[in-house]
């Protein structure tokens, strides 16, 4: 990564992207046992300029994952524990009266924890919707507005939020508008036997191994540019669009499951995330263009939190993952002549 992108060939840039990505994944895996897919998807979201919502029971390493990510990327890391009495000012900052040497008192903006590179919003569903909405602007536009003044966040900005799917008392489910800001929603499942044994070895016999810094913030931005350059053929775009449209129960592409169990489908932002994630996937596969398989692979984490189930689906415990899998099975990868 010593040469500038202009000096490197396309092949080299793609190779550098894949190497950097894999190094970051490996470094995080030093601390986080298992969850390779979760780690890769978090890094993919980072390359796509997206935010990630991690859902899992407490104690399985969500916070550790985000903290390690910050260390690997040599980025500033802040953590905010969301509670019911947390206020928006506690996140974005507030105006405070300050007195200078001359004795003049003026308002001074005290920056909140959102002013960082990597923000961990732990148990985000425990805060009130008002506080949750304080993150909306930061997540989408990478800026915050306080007292009429807009503050641009330093890039790369990245929000990882966690929520507990079990303990729901005293929580406020995230509104759909905020959910739509997350490019991925990743289910962090409970580790298996092998992973638990490895966790015991790593954490109880010795200290946590130190992680190396793999890439800087600037390098991450360069990798993001490369992602945007990846071309996509019309038939793949068409396929991705049809998949997203199929999540709408009133769409002509909607499957029977969608018509029966879905109340509202994905937004166009879901399609954007799907294409970007596909591009990252193509680069990681040493390809220069997106394929329909990339769309298929990234459809579940990209669309699962953008689809609203109806009461019937909740009663019958039909998950969005099942519905998306049904969509991918039913929507053909046809090729239209241009």
């Amino acid at each position: 990564m010593s040469d500038t992108p202009q000096d490197m060939s396309t092949d080299q840039r793609v190779k550098d992207f894949r190497d950097t990505f894999m190094k970051m994944s490996d470094e995080i895996s030093k601390v986080i046992v298992g969850y390779k897919d979760v780690i890769n998807n978090v890094l993919t979201a980072l390359m796509c300029r997206g935010n990630v919502l991690l859902e899992g029971v407490p104690g399985i390493g969500k916070t550790m994952l985000v903290r390690t990510l910050g260390e690997v990327l040599d980025l500033r890391f802040r953590r905010v524990q969301f509670t019911a009495d947390l206020m928006p000012a506690d996140i974005v900052g507030t105006q405070m009266i300050a007195q200078d040497d001359a004795g003049n008192r003026t308002f001074r903006f005290e920056r909140g924890p959102v002013f960082t590179h990597c923000l961990l919003a732990d148990e985000i569903n425990r805060a009130t919707p008002k506080t949750q909405s304080a993150l909306l602007e930061a997540m989408e536009e990478h800026s915050v507005t306080v007292a009429g003044t807009r503050y641009v966040l330093e890039e790369p900005f990245f929000v990882l939020a966690t929520q507990n799917p079990i303990e729901m008392e005293g929580t406020y489910p995230l509104p759909q508008a905020e959910l739509d800001k997350f490019i991925f929603k990743l289910d962090v499942l409970f580790p298996g036997l092998e992973e638990l044994d490895e966790i015991i070895v790593r954490t109880t016999y010795e200290e946590m191994p130190p992680v190396n810094v793999v890439a800087s913030g600037e390098e991450i931005l360069q990798l993001r540019k490369l992602v945007l350059e990846v071309p996509i053929a019309p038939h793949v775009e068409d396929y991705a669009a049809r998949v997203v449209l199929a999540t709408q129960p009133r769409s002509e592409f909607a499957t029977e499951l969608v018509k029966r169990y879905i109340r509202a489908g994905s937004s166009p932002r879901g399609l954007q995330g799907l294409i970007l994630a596909g591009k990252v996937k193509a680069l990681l596969d040493s390809r220069y263009c997106v394929s329909c398989d990339d769309v298929d692979e990234m459809a579940v984490p990209t669309l699962r939190h953008r689809i609203q189930r109806n009461l019937e689906a909740e009663a019958e415990e039909v998950s969005t993952d099942v519905i998306i899998a049904d969509i991918l099975e039913k929507i053909p990868q046809t090729v239209e002549a241009v």
Partner: protein, 434 residues
Amino acid sequence: MARTQAIVKVVGRVTGRVRMWRLIEALVRACKWVLWGALPVYIVNLIWSLPLVVLLLPPAALVVFFIVFGVKLLSGVNRFEVAKVIDDQVGLKDRMTSALYFERLGFSGGLTDAAVDDASQLAERVDPGRLSVGSMPTQTVAVVVLVALTVVVAVGPLNIADWLTADKETTVTEEAADAQKKLDGPTEVPVAALPKAMEPVKRKETLEQMTKLESERPPERDPDSMDIEMDPDLEDDIEAIKASISLKDMEDVEEAFKDDQKTSDPNERQERPPKIAPLDKELLDDIVRSKKEKMKKGEGSKDDAIGIAVKMPAKPGARQKGGPRKGRGGHGGGDVGESGDTKGPPRRVNIPGRDPLIVESRRSADIIQKTDLERVVMNELMMRLSMEDVRVVGKAASVPPKFTEQKRDPVVEETVPLGLRGYVQRYFEGLAAE
């Protein structure tokens, strides 16, 4: 185009095979859709033989569906589609397809060129001969089973309809054999079957009796010809009867006897000849004489007495024992005639030395009226008289527009009376002439 030359070359070599597989897919689809409908038809044909046209429908539908699916599937076979097939088979993940699209759309630079070059390099390594560009559709097995089942049902040995026909033929043959046995068997009737054997004899007697009655029955007259054109001899007979025995004559007879009753002197009245035609008198005398003889022999009956219209009274001496009775008759004091008429039968007048005629009823005039011949005459007269005051207000042809045509079924059929048939016929002939 030069960049994608290798891709186009591979695609060109595979296109023909892709088309063939598409046709196979079209055939499988057509079979799937058609055979589900054809199988029940052929099963029904096993039981009830269907017309040949119905049996030919499934093959015709198969051909139509095959053409439709084939055209639809083959129309989608372009080089992008073939490249997609190759990508899927080789695992190139849309590299060749995307490269063709980029070339077609004129994309270039950066990763696009890299994508096209990468696809071209991979295309050179692809061996079209080893590509299995098509695979049997997933429903092929089910369709093959369905085809086999349909063939067995349609042209196989199972044919219940033939079996049923064969059973019917066997039954008919057995019945014919039984009939032949009966014909060839002994003609002697068993004793137990004698009552049944006697039955035709009774029937024969009945038939003979009916034949006899039929022969005695007067021949049927054609009402049309009778009404339209009456036999001249018959007309003469009618006129003769009307002239001889008419209502006027009978009224004269009655008035003559009333006059006799009003006369106080029986002798004077006795000398007055009755106002009755000599022929009628002789006829009446004969009738009365014959009735008397029958009564003496005990052959007469009450009915006969009622049917006698004119009769001679009892001997005058027998009627004069109680003297002349007063009153107008009736059950209390009057002598009710044998006809039972209580409305004032004329008092019997004792005429010594003679047997005066007493008219008890006017039934003598009704005898002729009860015959068909008299009804014909009376109807003729009634119709002619009734038509005299008819005033024509319009033509019959103006009626049909207001007439709602009815079906044949609800029309009530009524038998036109014998005497009116001619006029009904003329009426409708008149309508036809209009």
